[in-house]
Amino acid sequence: MISFLEGAGELILFAMATCRRALRPPYEWRQLAVNLAEIGWRSLPLLLASGFAVGLVTVLHTRSTLVRFGAEALIPSLQSDSFFNELGPLLTGLLVAGRAGAGIGAELANMRVTEQIDAIETFSIDSLNFLVVPRVVACMIALPILTTFVDFAGLVGGFIGERFNSGMSILLYTTQAFQTVEMANFIPPTLKTIVFGWIIGTVACFFGYTINEGSVGVRRASTNSVVVSSLLIILSDVILVKLIFFFYPEQAL
């Protein structure tokens, strides 16, 4: 219990130090661009495929139930509601935690083991500023963008499923899907992934930056990054959904 609290305290201090550094120049634009490409662009195929597959499967599962009640016309709007509000953001958060979080943790832990972080410090370069801040900020920028792609991939998957089952036209599907979508359905849930990005970046960088135990440490950093950031994403999602309901009460109805 004490070591857990110690670890949590260290993580909070690390997060605070990172936030302070993020506001202080020099700003590592080049590192930010490199990490945006790695975390954002290179995660896109996995996220598009996952969003499409989940969208397709969701339609296949919900269809039989809705048909029983004669409510199959609701499938497109159900699909858009579930993806824009919850499935898209959460799926994106967990997948990026798995892909990029593990990568960041392993990369930084390896840099620690091979003294690359020490080498950066010997150049009088603030390693937090150079290595951690760009990764955290890249996660925060990439997540909302990736979420939007996952949302639409899910809708495409849903359309394909519905097309094969009922022959619904794309015009009818999109009309019905976006009939109930308002800005409040899309903007707040998408923006909440900025918090997911902050969690993924901070947690992964924390484990990678602080663990220094050879190849075992690299593995531990990678695993801990995924487990802890996934857990924190799920927990923070509950709080963020409550917050969205507080500011947009109509969403809770």
Binding site: N110, E115, Q116, D118, T122, F123, S124
Partner: protein, 259 residues
Amino acid sequence: MSNGSDSPMTNVSSSSDGPAVEFRNVSMNFNGKEVLRDFSFKIEREEAVCILGRSGVGKSVTLKLIVGLLQADSGAICIETEDITRANEDQLSRVRRKMGFLFQSAALFDSFTIFDNLALPLRRFNPGKREEEIQSTVRDALRQVGLENDKLKMPAALSGGMKKRAGLARALVMNPEILLVDEPSSGLDPITASEIDDLLLKFKQERHTTMVIVTHDIRGAKRVADKLAVIDDAALVAFGTAADLQSSENETVRKLLES
């Protein structure tokens, strides 16, 4: 290197500008283990000193204390008369600009090409420097270590010896006053290790850089260093020229010299 204590082997060479590196009664514990105990010595400017000793006696820790990557528990460490023991980041940053560090694993940045590895400190410390000047400086540094045709390679594509040479070029690209070298021959075959020693010798003669080299290779140490220092049981047990150390009665020193 001269011991700050009153040892009969003390060899304090005077310099009008003071020593390049000075440890005054430095003690340090690492994970509960005493690594350095009341450690005192001076390294004069333009002097090349090799630090020898068994594995785990604190040789690399000494280098990291000099560059401020670790902090001593007590005592004072001065770089060209500036005490860095309790220095803040700005002071450390100023002192570090005088130093180059060749790490044991070379510590090249995996995600950068060799060119970018060398260009990083140049770009950082000389924001007004034109890209052509940076390219020219990097090219010159790589030419000196025989890697001018490998500048666009990634570190993973280099052999162990090439990585060490690239690391040495990076350590020297800022033209440091003090060069710190951690195990230059580790993991290398004797021929490649000798080539690295040749390069260190060349830079010592051409640039008159102060060098602090941690090594297990006694033959290389005798070639490159003006003086040798031996650490054992958390203390400096001997230092001086190779000839001075021949007369040492310390068992560790004798074993090292015979190896």
